[in-house]
């Protein structure tokens, strides 16, 4: 770093300097947070080493509940990952101007959280040492392999999609800060902000935004196929694809709101992440809330009305049986609490949306859980009733570590890159006001001078 000091100090960024604050200055709070997160991660790593050594016997799994927390985590995290790319891409495509300050934080969630989705699958494997068999001996008939493909594509695309809009900001960091210049120089890819570069970037971002949407939809559809393609009761359902996608977007938005609120609070970005953002996302959440409820209701109603015995066994497990607490908590936290809060403008405040989002996050985790576990716990052939899946400390630790690691990566990201897109904000200020005015005008009927009133012909007559 001594070399860097010799260099001429770069010109400080005048406007939006607060966005660079987290990168330039690091306080003790940061280290405390990191330490706490690291210790949680450490616990998770230890838990995994135990599992690796002893086998999956250290979990609460057994026959017939072969899948538990890890698969729940996988579905949950992949769901959360829809926060970013999908929402940001949609907002970009429809040209929602309020997106400018929130897309970055959303996209980061996607990339970070996919890692944990995939990671949980690996944790779940009995033989992680043989995981490459999935490539070496790939059998494309298996929905799991569809997952492998779509998630790989999704991860690549979302990473690119995160990276592209980051380039101008990296260039700003390179030009305006002293820290890690080599790093930023490398990543900035020689961005100088010429009009040509801007044009190329705009095209790339637009293309990516369009491509990433079907990929994102496919990912969660395929995740649902893992369950829906089997003939197990209450898994074998045609609406599982859209149901999972809706649930994914639902939980994704909720996660995004939580993340935004956290950033806003920690880095004092009240000016950038305003009430209006939370309000708009809150409305979106409200819509998804109903969509989710619609799917849930149709799923359960179809099952109930059909009353096939094997399906009904699982149905009652969820409604009144051992999974009833999970189920009803889910209904309350995923529907009643958020709807009550979000339906009214008065409660759709930042605090309100955050509470709703936290409730949804919990609820959606439970939703994933009661999709995975009950269907397994009462297989078609009679089975001992008293084998109940109870996660062990290993599974809890790994779950906690996943959340902690996600948070840590998120925090580290904010320490390396601006979490609010600086150039897009600037661009918004410089160009968009005019553009939006123009665009708005294009929607509306042209305001013309009132045509001269025709002479009332008949009047003269």
């Amino acid at each position: 770093m001594s070399v860097a000091t010799k260099k001429p100090s770069p010109p400080p960024l005048t406007e939006d300097a607060i966005l660079l604050e987290p990168i330039l200055h690091t306080g003790p709070k940061f280290y405390i947070t990191v330490a706490v997160l690291l210790s949680v991660i450490g616990l998770g790593v230890y838990a995994y080493t135990v599992q690796y050594r002893e086998g999956l016997g250290v979990t609460g799994l057994g026959r017939p509940v072969y899948w538990g927390f890890y698969i729940t985590n996988f579905v949950f995290f992949i769901g959360i990952s829809h926060a970013g790319t999908l929402i940001s891409a949609i907002l970009r495509i429809v040209g929602a101007e309020w997106r400018r300050t929130i897309t970055r934080s959303a996209e980061v969630i996607t990339v970070m959280v996919i890692l944990f989705g995939v990671g949980n699958i690996l944790v779940d494997l009995g033989r992680p040492d043989r995981m490459l068999n999935v490539i070496k001996h790939a059998k494309f008939g298996s929905p799991l392999l569809w997952d492998v493909c779509s998630i790989t594509v999704y991860l690549t695309m979302s990473t690119t999609y995160l990276y592209l809009p980051l380039i101008p900001d990296i260039a700003i960091l390179r030009d305006h800060t002293n820290k890690r210049r080599w790093f930023y120089r490398l990543l900035a890819l020689g961005w100088t902000g010429t009009p040509r570069q801007h044009r190329i970037l705009d095209i790339l971002i637009s293309v990516m935004a369009i491509i990433v949407i079907p990929v994102a939809v496919s990912v969660h559809t395929v995740v649902s196929f893992v369950f829906a393609m089997t003939i197990q009761p209450m898994w074998h359902s045609a609406i599982f694809g859209p149901y999972f996608v809706v649930g994914a977007i639902f939980s994704g938005i909720a996660a995004l709101i939580c993340a935004m609120a956290l950033i806003r609070w920690v880095y004092g970005l009240g000016e950038y992440l305003k009430d209006i953002h939370f309000n708009n996302l809150g409305l979106l959440l409200l819509v998804m809330c109903f969509a989710w409820f619609y799917f849930t209701a149709s799923e359960f109603l179809t099952t109930f009305y059909g009353s096939e015995p094997t399906h009904m066994t699982i149905f009652w497990l969820k409604f009144t049986g051992p999974f009833a607490p999970h189920f009803w908590t889910m209904v309350v936290t995923c529907f009643f609490i958020p709807v009550t809060i979000l339906a009214f403008k008065r409660t759709r405040t930042i605090l309100g949306t955050v509470i709703a989002s936290l409730s949804i996050t919990v609820g959606m985790y439970l939703e994933r859980f009661i999709i995975v576990v009950p269907s397994l716990s009462q297989p078609r052939l009679p089975h001992a009733e008293d084998i109940v899946y109870t996660p062990t400390w290993v599974e809890w630790s790994i779950l906690a570590a996943c959340f902690a690691a996600f948070t840590l990566l998120y925090v580290l990201f904010t320490k390396l890159f601006p979490i609010v897109s600086i150039w897009e904000v600037q661009e918004g200020r410089e160009k968009s006001v005019a553009e939006v005015t123009e665009r708005l005008k294009s929607y509306l009927p042209k305001s013309q001078p009132a045509p001269a009133r025709p002479e009332p012909v008949g009047a003269s007559k």
């Binding site: 050594r53 043989r130 009679p382 001992a384």
Partner: protein
């Protein structure tokens, strides 16, 4: 990479004679992952198959053990063995877990510290035998050989013979069977009615109708393998004919599931129902008049030598067992009784099976007699598809000289009751408990538990344990630690059946005797000694005429002596494929004998290689053999009991006196007992019944599979009864009886009668190997046992109980 290497795995592989080196592998995997496979250095090596005896239960099946590199690695059934014909039961397959059991005792153990403390010290065999011998010599020296008691358990053939001969030479009458019901079953009733001391078989395969009274035919038969096979033959052996099986039991057991009909009945009232059925048969004239007339005794009123007239079976049944009365006592509705009687008498050959199951079914002998009388009424005694009487075969029973001490000792009456009086044969270990405790008629100075665990298996096991602690010297021969040998001073490890020479006499259900030879298929463990050598070493140390009791140098020579006796009979044959039925009949009518070896060496070789010897011919209609003392008739009114009661007192109401000779099964109507409103029904778990080892994980794992239960003892309650007590599924309840209390998990089960709580017997050992110690509870702790006056054995089905939700 050290930490990846699993040391246990390595040890195991070394033991298996195996080390696969690490191979060049396409994945960069630690080598231990590959070492997890049970490959051997040389691949699967040469293998042998040896026929021997299955020692897992008293069934007497033939095993074909597969040996690879001298290690038993698999068992199949001996296809030529008349008892199992190639089939195996679950216990037989688990024999490998028994022979290689990690908790098996391998060295004599001496108790250090106070007895019962469970602290043991390994000692050498010679020292151990010296310890026992010195103790016994002292006892004998004092002229009290009757102070020794030997309790026989699961040991068969040779060890049983050795102990019997030893006890006789030593001079003690106290050689007592710990599991009388395993081997007697319905026998006391047969003795009382037919006068036969042999066991009987049920030719179920050819029967047309079977009424089984809590018999556990498929749950707890003395030979699971045979009972299953004849059941299958009964069911599907005759195309186009579907016979009927009706099962009567308080609980819906496996037999009930497989039967055509299940009729729940109050525990302990089966004989009442049988007499109810007899009532209908007699009243409607549905019984076999021919058989009753020609071979029956005491059916009608009869007059004894003194001219006193006695109550007959017919009058008693017609008086006291009207179906309406029976309904009140048994809970079986009147209409059903009529129907059963008509079905039973019109679908011959019909069999009434009673109590040929395991210990927990043990019932009053009068009830057994009542049930057996149904067979006589149906004319099913000694006919194809009816009752067979096992052909007697005694081996190594030759006389030998005993000295004066022994003669004097043997003159004492045995501790389990005077032999001549009130017992219908066998021994009554339940009576031993009190005799030891009261030191009456004389005190017990030494006790040997020969592969027996009465503390666990007796209804009053705890009391027996207490009595044991009062005996000055207790030695146990046992394969494992168990509840009884905790009270011992010395434990001598028993050698597993696959390691020793032995023989066993069993019978097919058609009555053919089968002698199976057991041979050591593997080299016995270095310090192992078989029971025969142990007893012989003891006898030799005591010297004199005691030493002459066991003239054969070792177990192998004793088995050779057995074969010599068989050879000298000049009958029977080595095992061969099953005969065609018609061929066998031809042999029976023509009196032809199966091919027989010309010289003993050849005979011996064939028998050992083939697995054993059998006499495949059974002659029906030999009434001299089937109906014996004292009248050579089927005694509805037991003349045998009359002689056993010595003299019927002349005074008193002659009917009341003679009623004691008739099966009395008057069931009191269900009373409302405030304190104990329920009845306890203890049943045996299939797969654990009669098993010689409790420490087999495979068996313990499947024992409760019929109820989706695993590794515990539960209590079955009818949902409506449970509701009355406010008990729901997944609760735990305290079951309380006058004798004790146990806290058990509840299983709501519609397959158990109202107002009955059913508890399985099989788990609940307080000491033993890792797979049985502390697993579940022992319902014997609850049983408030009455004693059967005719046999002296304890009855399990007389206990009242109550519940409390925990």
């Amino acid at each position: 990479m050290k930490e990846w290497v699993n040391l246990n795995r390595r040890d195991f592989l070394a033991a298996f004679g195996a080390t696969y080196g690490v191979t060049a592998c396409s994945w960069a995997a630690p080598r231990s992952w590959f070492l997890e496979y049970a490959g051997t250095e040389d691949g699967p090596p040469r293998e042998q198959h040896i026929n021997t005896l299955c020692s897992m239960c008293p069934g007497g099946c033939g095993l074909r053990v597969r040996l690879v590199h001298g290690c038993a690695v698999g068992v199949r059934g001996n296809k030529d063995h008349p008892i199992n014909r190639g089939g195996l039961c679950s216990r037989a397959s688990a024999v490998l877990q028994d022979v290689y059991n990690p908790d098996r005792l391998r060295q004599p153990l001496r108790c250090v510290g106070s007895r019962g403390s469970g602290q043991w010290e390994e000692i050498e065999w010679d020292a151990a035998i010296a310890m026992v011998a010195d103790k016994l010599a002292l006892l004998r020296g004092n002229g009290n050989p009757e102070g020794l008691s030997v309790v026989l358990g699961r040991g068969r053939g040779l060890s049983r013979t050795a102990w019997r001969r030893f006890a006789r030479a030593y001079g003690t009458p106290n050689i007592i069977d710990a599991h009388p019901d395993d081997n007697l079953g319905v026998q006391p009733a047969v003795l009382a009615t037919q006068g036969v001391a042999q066991r009987i078989g049920y030719d179920v395969a050819k029967a047309g109708y079977v009424l089984s009274f809590s018999s556990g035919w498929l749950d707890a038969h003395w030979s699971t393998e045979q009972s299953a096979r004849v059941f299958a033959d009964f069911r599907r052996g005759r195309p186009g004919f579907r016979p009927r099986w009706v099962h009567i039991e308080p609980r819906h057991s496996v037999t009930a599931t497989k039967a055509d009909e299940w009729i729940p009945i109050r525990p302990g009232t089966e004989g009442t129902l049988a007499l109810g059925i007899a009532h209908v048969m007699i009243r409607e004239g549905l019984y076999d008049r021919d058989f009753v007339g020609r071979h029956g005794f005491g059916f009608e009123d009869w007059t004894d030598r003194n001219g006193v007239s006695h109550l007959g079976f017919r009058r008693m049944v017609l008086q006291d067992y009207a179906p309406r009365k029976v309904e009140a006592g048994t809970g079986v509705v009147e209409g059903t009784i009529f129907r059963l009687a008509r079905e039973f008498s019109s679908n011959g050959p019909a069999i009434a099976v009673g109590y040929d199951g395991g210990g927990c079914g043990a019932q009053a002998t009068y009830h057994r007699m009542a049930i057996h009388c149904l067979n006589a009424l149906a004319g099913s005694i000694d006919v194809p598809g009816g009752i067979t009487v096992f052909q007697e075969l005694t081996l190594l029973d030759g006389e030998f000289d005993i000295d004066d001490v022994a003669t004097r000792g043997l003159a004492n009456e045995p501790l389990d009751g005077p032999a001549a009086d009130r017992r219908l044969g066998g021994s009554a270990i339940d009576l031993l408990t009190r005799a030891i405790k009261d030191r009456r008629p004389y005190s017990t100075e030494a006790l040997i538990l020969a592969e027996a665990d009465p503390v666990f298996s007796l209804a009053e096991g705890a009391a027996f344990g207490a009595a044991l602690s009062a005996v000055p010297f207790v030695a146990a021969i046992s394969g494992y630690h168990h509840d009884s040998n905790r009270h011992a001073d010395l434990i001598l490890p028993a050698l597993h059946g696959l390691h020793r020479w032995d023989f066993d006499v069993a019978h097919t259900l058609k009555g053919h005797p089968v002698v199976t030879v057991s041979q050591p298929v593997m080299d016995p463990p270095k310090r192992g000694r078989d029971a025969y050598s142990v007893v012989r070493a003891l006898a030799n140390r005591l010297g004199g005429k005691v030493g002459g009791a066991l003239p054969w140098a070792d177990a192998e020579s004793a088995v050779e002596a057995v074969l010599r006796e068989l050879f000298d009979r000049g009958e029977g044959a080595t095992f061969g494929p099953a005969n065609e039925e018609s061929w066998a009949q031809l042999l029976e009518t023509r009196g032809w004998r199966a091919p027989f070896s010309s010289d003993f060496a050849e005979f011996k070789r064939d028998v050992i290689a083939g697995g054993g010897w059998t006499d495949p011919i059974y002659f029906h209609g030999k009434w001299d053999r089937v109906l014996q003392r004292p009248l050579r008739r089927f005694a509805f009114s037991s003349a045998y009991l009359a002689s056993s009661f010595e003299a019927i007192p002349a005074a008193g109401d002659p009917d009341e006196v003679s009623a004691r000779l008739l099966p009395q099964c008057r069931a009191e109507p269900r009373t409302s007992d405030e304190t104990y409103p329920l009845e306890l029904y203890v049943y045996e778990l299939p797969n654990l019944v009669g098993c010689s080892s409790p420490n087999l994980p495979w068996l313990n794992d499947i024992a409760g599979a019929y109820m989706f239960e695993k590794w515990r003892t539960w209590v079955e309650i009818h949902p409506e009864t449970a509701e009355r007590f406010g008990v729901t599924a997944h609760d735990h309840v305290e079951v309380r009886t006058p004798r004790g209390r146990l806290t058990l998990p509840v299983r709501l089960y519609t397959g158990v009668m109202h107002d009955v709580v059913a508890i399985p017997f099989g788990f609940g050992r307080k000491s033993g190997g890792r797979w049985c110690r502390g697993i579940g509870e022992n319902p014997a702790d609850l049983v408030d046992a009455r004693t059967d006056p005719l046999t002296g054995t304890a009855l399990w089905t007389s206990t009242r109980a109550t519940l409390r939700k925990m």
